[in-house]
Amino acid sequence: MKVKIKQWNGVASWLWVANDENCGICRMSFNGCCPDCKVPGDDCPLVWGQCSHCFHMHCILKWLNSQQVQQQCPMCRQEWKFKE
């Protein structure tokens, strides 16, 4: 017997490769989106800091904009630098 697969339609769900489930700022799931967004994924990406913490991009930007003096990671209080 020979089985010839013509087409395999699989189902998968995507997820961020992150070391946490939820965004430390908005407490929403990374795989969802920040409170201001409607669509997850490309439209509401994650960013990582050099301290290895990650957040929704929109969340951390909002946080950084609200910081007057020094820009720190909200989790570890180290100076926030985007990871390249």
Binding site: N9, V11, V17
Partner: protein
């Protein structure tokens, strides 16, 4: 008589009181015949004598007794002779063979009655005139008053307890004359029904005897005479009303049975209106003399004006009332069918609306309709979609019938209540909303009517409670104060009280559909979501929009990856054409989790695909749901080929394993697939049905490479969809509910730890109070909670005694 008169005169001269009495009384009793038989002069002569006799009597204050005497005499005569004679005349067995004879007997009896009573009536008339003129110092009620008194005596004596025979006869006679009248009217009006009659054996359509013996004319004349007599004796009302009422009732009923029953697509109002006018013609014959008598009364200054007309007017009202009532009765009986046939039955609904406004039968209608729903619709034998279809028809029909929506609200309440108990209600509604099921397409049409609807108008709370007194007095004030939406979709959605459930269910249906077709063609779903957005608002449909976007994104990613692969050299081409539906897991309903180890061919392909995806989307990866999806494959066997089978991944996985090794035991398969044996066995049946595999002794399955022609399976079914256990990829509603309830378990445990014991109601209200998270708690009713707690009791996680729950000691 004349001679006697002169003798009386002499005797009166001699101051003889008894003689005067005699002369007066005999003049009264026989005055009628006197007036008729003797020339005018003789009468005037005796007039004078009478005057003197009267004077004499009044001189002895006896004149007032004359009145009493006359009435008394009449009553005695009536009781002793006239009434028995009348009844005897009516019952003449030897003359009752033919209907025609019976009619004659009836008339003759009344004729005799009139002749016997006429003298008294004449006498009273005379006495009355005297009284009015004040002759001989007489005073009294006058001729009209005397007449009334005498006639009431007659009615009392004669009809105090009439034998049934009278009503029978009158009824028969009236029916006949009615038929005659209608047949004559029918001829002039050219009604087909009555005209059809002469063809059948030459019977007259009026009197139903051979034409040559027709006594139609006679009957009409008899009717006229009878009516005159009855009217003269003022017996018309007493004798005829009942018969006439009966006849009208019966005939309207008959006609309605013949014409309207089961016939909902025509309006009958104008038809009946016309017919009733004919009937009125007959009534005017029955009550004709009364109309004639009116001239006499009018001359006497009767304030009633034209009594004949008022009598007819009254009968016209009666008749319309009869008609409406009978019509409403019939339609109430049929209302369920009428609703089922709506909108074809619209004319019937309109007729019913017209008549219902004139009869006070809304309550009856409600009761009957409700019980019709309960017996014919709301039982386990009826498919949910059928119930919904009838409900939709009922909404449409009843809002036509009663724009105030009270009937709709009350009558359909059992349907709503019942639908709430069916698990697949929401799914059915959603399915028909999106045009999936045949038959319910009007709901899809309804959806595309673009009037944004405000929901939440009906709170399910007070619908459930019946103590509102709705059923005794539909209170229009209260019913209007609540906003009563007649929008079909709102009504359906509000069955469950909240649109969240509804939208959740839609999401599930949508997920199912998208995961089943896997062809990325979402035009229809996009349209539906847009329409639902108009209904429920943008924010509620947000998740569905993300789902649809996932589909579009997946298609793009697939195309991307395909293109990349096509640029690879020949030898690196992937062995398996894999495409993926990539979901944003947060936005899809919970998918069933099943384990399945795919054969290396497939898992390798998925790995490769994941790599390419990771390259495409930085920092993201894929988590495959191996059991979901579909596989199209060909199977080549030694003597045959099965092409384009569309199966689920687990089927594909199984058959791929058989490619490497042609014989497997259930256990081996179970291990290699990571799936319970029971499941494997179920999945194997598909291949057995296809004739590809065979179960051999010892529980091993082997490939059937060559099959004898007799074993060759029917090849008509090529596309095998999912398998026997429902094809939903998502968890069912009840599973989800179970999960939600499980959430409460922690709360319940905590409460019981603190409070030791609690009743069911207490737990429920505490949960309500503390766990205020969205719709979950409000939708959980006490019964559900009880069932949940009982399950816990069975699992020994809870103890119930004396109606209170507490935790078992060990768990402390």
């Amino acid at each position: 008589v004349f001679l006697r008169g002169s003798v009386v005169l002499d005797m009166m001269m001699m101051d003889s009181l008894p003689a005067a009495w005699d002369s007066v009384t005999s003049a009264l009793v026989s005055s009628n015949s006197c007036l008729q038989m003797s020339p005018m002069s003789s009468c005037t002569l005796s007039e004078e004598a009478l005057s003197e006799a009267l004077d004499l009597l009044s001189g002895h204050s006896l004149a007032q007794c004359v009145e009493g005497w006359l009435l008394e005499t009449m009553q005695v005569r009536l009781t002793a002779a006239v009434a028995p004679e009348f009844w005897a005349g009516l019952e003449q067995p030897e003359n009752e063979v033919e209907e025609r004879d019976r009619a004659r007997v009836l008339l003759r009896a009344f004729r005799t009655l009139l002749v016997r009573l006429e003298p008294f009536l004449g006498g009273l008339e005379r006495l009355g005139t005297w009284q009015e003129e004040g002759r001989g110092g007489l005073s009294g009620p006058g001729s009209r008053g005397l007449r009334e008194r005498a006639l009431s005596v007659i009615r009392a004596v004669l009809l105090f307890s009439p034998p049934a025979v009278l009503q029978d006869r009158v009824l028969e006679f009236y029916s006949r004359t009615f038929a005659v009248h209608m047949s004559r009217e029918g001829e002039t009006e050219g009604e087909t029904e009555e005209r059809a009659h002469p063809s059948d054996g030459g019977l007259c359509s009026g009197c139903a005897v051979p034409v040559e013996e027709c006594w139609c004319q006679e009957a009409l004349e008899q009717l006229e005479e009878l009516s005159h007599i009855l009217s003269r004796l003022q017996l018309l009302e007493r004798v005829s009303s009942e018969a006439v009422t009966n006849i009208l009732h019966r005939l309207i009923e008959q006609r309605m049975e013949q014409r309207c029953r089961g016939e909902y697509e025509n309006s009958f109002l104008s038809d009946f209106q016309e017919w009733l006018e004919h009937v009125l013609g007959w009534l005017s014959r029955v009550f004709v003399s009364e109309a004639g008598g009116s001239s006499v009364r009018a001359a006497l200054g009767s304030p009633t004006g034209q009594p004949g007309n008022t009598v007819l007017q009254r009968w016209r009202c009666h008749m319309h009332q009869f008609f409406c009532r009978i019509y409403v009765n019939m339609r109430i009986e049929e209302l369920f069918s009428i609703i089922r046939d709506f909108p074809e039955s619209k004319p019937a609904i309109e007729d019913l609306k017209f008549c219902l406004e004139r009869t006070n039968q809304r309550q009856q209608l409600l009761t009957s309709l409700k019980s019709a729903f309960e017996t014919r619709l709301l039982h386990p034998g009826v498919h949910t979609s059928d119930i919904i279809t009838v409900y939709i028809s009922a909404i449409k029909a009843l809002r036509e019938l009663d724009p105030s929506m009270v009937i709709l609200q009350v009558a359909c309440q059992p349907i709503r209540k019942y639908l709430r108990t069916r698990e697949d209600t929401v799914r059915q509604i959603v399915a028909s909303l999106t045009g999936d099921t045949e038959g319910c397409s009007d709901l899809a049409n309804e959806l595309s009517r673009t009037d944004p609807v405000t929901l939440e108008t009906q709170d399910s709370e007070d619908e459930g409670s019946e103590q509102w007194g709705w059923f005794d007095t539909p209170d229009p004030v209260r019913s209007c104060s609540k906003r009563r939406s007649s929008d079909i979709i709102s009504l359906l959605v509000s069955i469950y009280g909240s649109k969240e459930i509804f939208i959740d269910e839609y999401r599930t249906v949508l997920a199912d559909r998208l995961l089943h077709q896997l062809n990325y063609n979402t035009a229809r779903e996009i349209r539906n979501v847009e329409l639902l957005k108009l209904r429920f608002g943008e924010s509620h449909m947000h998740y569905c929009e993300v789902m649809l976007k996932d589909v579009a994104d997946s298609r793009r990613i697939n195309a991307n990856i395909r293109e990349e692969e096509s640029r690879l050299p020949e030898e690196e081409q992937p062995p398996l054409a894999l495409s993926a539906m990539i979901l944003s897991s947060e936005f899809w309903p919970t998918l069933k989790e099943e384990k399945l180890e795919l054969p290396p061919l497939a898992s390798k392909a998925m790995e490769v695909y994941t790599h390419r995806y990771e390259k495409l989307k930085a920092m993201r990866t894929l988590s495959w749901k191996p059991h979901l999806g579909s596989v199209t494959l060909d199977i080549e066997l030694e003597d045959r080929t099965l092409t384009n089978l569309s199966v689920s991944p687990i089927h594909a996985a199984i058959i791929l394993h058989f490619q490497d090794k042609s014989s497997w035991s259930l256990e081996e398969l179970s291990t290699v697939l990571g799936v319970p044996q029971e499941m494997v066995r179920r999945k194997l049946t598909l291949w057995q049905q296809q004739g590809v595999l065979r179960e051999e002794a010892g529980g091993r399955y082997t490939v059937v490479e060559t099959c004898a022609s007799r074993e060759r399976p029917e090849r008509s079914v090529l596309l095998i969809d999912s398998d026997e256990e429902g094809d939903s990829n998502t968890t069912t509603q009840s599973e989800q509910r179970e999960e939600k309830l499980q959430l409460f378990w922690a709360y319940i445990q905590a409460m019981l730890t603190n409070l030791e014991t609690m009743t069911l109601e207490r737990i429920h209200s505490m949960l309500r109070m503390f766990v205020a998270t969205g719709p979950v708690v409000t939708e959980m009713d006490v019964n559900e909670l009880q069932a949940f707690l009982q399950k816990k009791v069975r699992d020994h996680q809870l103890i119930v005694s004396g109606g209170v729950y507490r935790l078992p000691k060990s768990s402390h």
